[in-house]
Symmetry: C2
Subunit: 198 residues, 2 copies
């Protein structure tokens, strides 16, 4: 005999289906929900539905937006620089740092033949088209540091070899505040290879 | 200018209001929700509302149930033994281990004068009443190991000093599979004090 009501079990399952939430945390969250007021829980449910219904991909840069075109694309700030990220949430740390003044392009993934993801499954053709259409002058590739991200960056570089567009990628090295003792070998190797003159 | 749509920000706030979910995990969960199908998200929202609307406290043992009285109380199994737990979710590990064949009583917290929680704020009077009404023979106190839980257990023990009911509490010691090197001092002290003959 299950000691938990069916609808509570269902809620635990829903929480456990989220990334980084295990069975124990899911149970904790579900029991927590039951201690909230009905109004609170209804608001949570409504917020879930609202976000899903109102948010869609910007047709120009593919980032998540609730407008017809996202505010960044509408602003048309620094249209000659384009920063390519893997997913919409990768834009957040850039904007928080406030360092990049151009526009973004969400690729929607990286090429991974083993997972059946080729150039057509992500927005690669649209990226190349946009670079040509809008005479982009600098393309900053900010695609993470996996082997798949590296080969995707390489492919983008090759596809643009005939174009007059400067291609850069984010520097790799020791992150701020980290203790050298705990830096992994690959990061160490890259930081050493890319050492700069004082 | 915020780069995230308002409804997405709201969803991040909702997730961040849950226990053990920080700002970064909340953002990750909210972006994950946007990648789900509309049907999936509606189901999640519905499950939240269902759980909150259907689940309430059992009038007899105060555990969460969607029935008028919870299945365990209805079963009336081992009615002479009562296990007192702090919250409804504490019943789960007992039932999973399948060791206790009596009934449970959810106290709804422990006494904590600094937080303004006295005997009347939790279900202490109801517990004493039930023990008297149902001639309980053994009371197992399973209230966690905080100082507040200890003093609550002590108070229950005193309130029942005139009653013919055996009072026990869970043993304390080294948990299974743990390395002695990593056991904290208080657990070590208690395990040593409660050492048993071979």
């Amino acid at each position: 005999m299950s000691i938990e009501p069916k609808c509570l079990e269902d809620l635990i399952k829903e929480f456990a289906s989220l990334p980084s939430i295990g069975q124990k945390t899911a149970r904790r969250l579900a029991y927590h929900i039951l201690t909230r007021t009905s109004g609170d829980v209804e608001h949570f449910a409504q917020t879930l539905n609202d976000a899903k219904q109102k948010v869609h991909a910007c047709p120009s840069c593919h980032c998540f937006t609730d407008q017809e075109i996202c505010p960044l694309c509408i602003s048309r700030r620094g249209t000659k620089s384009l920063c390519v990220v893997e997913k919409s949430s990768d834009i957040v740390p850039f904007e928080r740092a406030g360092i990049f003044k151009g526009l973004y392009f969400v690729l929607g993934g990286v090429i991974s033949p083993l997972d059946g993801i080729g150039p057509e499954q992500i927005h690669l053709p649209q990226l190349v088209q946009r670079i040509k259409d809008e005479s982009i002058e600098e393309l900053v590739l900010a695609l993470g540091s996996s082997p798949e991200a590296d080969s995707t960056a390489l492919m983008i570089d090759r596809m643009l070899s005939g174009e007059n567009v400067r291609r850069t990628r984010l520097a790799r090295g020791i992150p701020m505040g980290s203790d050298l003792e705990f830096v992994d070998e690959v990061t160490m190797l890259r930081a050493f290879e890319s050492r700069v003159s004082l």
